[in-house]
């Protein structure tokens, strides 16, 4: 529930490993919502290699593209193919509705 900086999980290990490949990382704030938080986190600042896409982030978090129905980068809709930039905030939502 609360947006804590949750502890490292499998995904953290994944991007650690990548860190060794390149020394200049992008800092990306990743936010997960609703059911995607289960066994993951609500919000984390994470590091990625330059040039990585939303798809790479999702894969690292073990989230399928079907589960990640709605994506925002800095409050604008994005696609799995969108390339991330230093300082971006990526928000990932499962299919949701209401009204």
């Amino acid at each position: 529930m609360s947006e804590t900086l949750a502890g490292p999980g499998v995904s953290h290990f994944f991007h650690r490993r990548q860190k060794t490949e390149d020394k200049t990382f992008m800092k990306i704030t990743v936010k997960l919502f609703a059911s995607l938080r289960k066994d993951r986190f609500a919000i984390e600042k994470r590091e990625y290699n330059p040039g990585q896409s939303v798809r790479d982030v999702l894969a690292g978090l073990d989230i399928t593209e079907g589960e990640a129905a709605i994506l925002f980068i800095n409050s604008r809709h994005a696609d799995p193919a969108t390339i991330l930039n230093e300082g971006d905030t990526l928000a990932v939502f499962p299919p949701v509705g209401g009204g």
Partner: protein, 578 residues
Amino acid sequence: MDKILRIDMGAEGGPKAKETGLDAYSGLGGRALTSSIVAGEVPPLCHPLGAENKLVISPGLLSGTGAAMSGRISIGCKSPLTGGIKESNSGGQAAQVLARLGYAAIVLEGKPPGDSLYKVFINKDGVKIEAAASLRMLPNYDLIDKMKEQYGDKIACISIGPAGEMKLSAASIACTDPELRPTRHAGRGGVGAVMGAKGVKVIVLDDTGLKARPPKDLEKFRAANKIFVAGLSSHPVTGQALPAYGTNVLTNIVNEAGAYPAYNFKDGQFPGASKISGETFAELETQRGGNPTHHCHRGCVIRCSGIFNDKNGKFLTKQPEYETVWAHGAHCGIDDPDAIAMLDFLDDNYGVDTIDMGVAIGLAMQAGVAKFGDAEAAINLVKEVGKGTPLGRILGSGAAITGRVFGVENVPVVKGQALPAYDPRAVQGIGVTYATSPMGGDHTAGYSIATNILKSGGYVDPLKPEGQVELSRNLQIATAAIDSTGMCLFIAFAVLDQPETFQALIDLLNSFYGLELNAGSVTDLGKKVLTVEREFNKKAGFTKEHDRLPRYFYTEPVAPHNITFMVKDEEMDKLFDW
């Protein structure tokens, strides 16, 4: 469901009930029926609180049958809030029970002399109308307790609180849920004030001894219902997200999209959003022994509602809806879920629309009556409504009146009705619906959020003006049709995405009534309803200049997108050209 119950509240010697056939209204239900009766029988220039107005309460075409999701009720009249035609839609048990009692509609007509107050009881043996002075100014929860004592717990009630009796233009009509709590409301447009003007405090419905309405072709009906339910259960929105988090799952996403109006539409994001999100509410509800997954009527399989308990684990209110959380939360700068739940309870108890009420409080805050973020002050302001003080009466008359009384310039209303929880600058499609809907500022009338933000039924970029008129048109047509079936609008998430679920809905209607409708007939019905509503509004004095947003949405950009509303007037004027 082949008769209409008309009660002349102003008849000589006291109210008189008579039953008529459907006649010219045959084949109609829900919004199609309420709007047709209002447009056909109410003089468009009448005063909404006068004897000439009528309050029409109508279950949908499939209400009272075994069809899942079919328990929505439409309540129509000339609105004291907008001055135009109104259909206000509610969940709760009333639609199913009223339909099983055989009524396609109850029409309250005329007006009793003085301030007489009545209670109406309907069961299989007929209709009883009794004076009910002892119920005067009872809040909804106390009222329903009294009705339970008198009639037992196998009833469903349609009632007004003190706001309706005071004829405040944001007064709602409450419908009881399966546990007989007055938690579901026909909130919008001040329908409660019209019920108050008719002198009816409560309608008690008892369908003991009556069965579900029988379909023409039982086998086909059952088969269609099975496919329909399977489609709703398998769709991720209706099968997972709505049951788990309710409508308030939207707080985080709309905030993330920069379309979550904060501090009276000053910002497009609210710093406290996560504290009042659906995720937070669901966790609180579970922790405190409430329940994030609950149905507003029997037969709902989506179960988007929930039970909110207070800190001591005692029932406080139903899970507040997204718009309620926004109106009392971000709009007022409040990020305390317990305060918002208390406001939801008070609104339900006094019988006011949570949207117009919350927006009115935010406007009072803007004017300095209280500080943004002061939850205690907000609670006290709503209590003023319950007490009927002059301040309470102003607030309970909604956002437009409150803004005017306190000299606020930026008042978010269209046709006098408060805009709900989506900034029309950051979601241009919903701006078109707000501006053009015959209902006034309303989101459900053409829920473009589905396509603009949630990528349901396609995708139209929310930040561009292109494609928004067409999107809103199609959604307004579909909604007018769905609102006539008694189906909950949330089926649309599955119906828009899954052709077989849409077909199952049509098959339900066809097998029940022995009809041969297709997708085209559904569209035709929606268009017919909108046309009738627009005609009424035209005669009531509305012009195309009323189909506009307040000026500041065109001139003042909102963060984070720094964008204004850009859809052209001429484009919006073509929305209803078909």
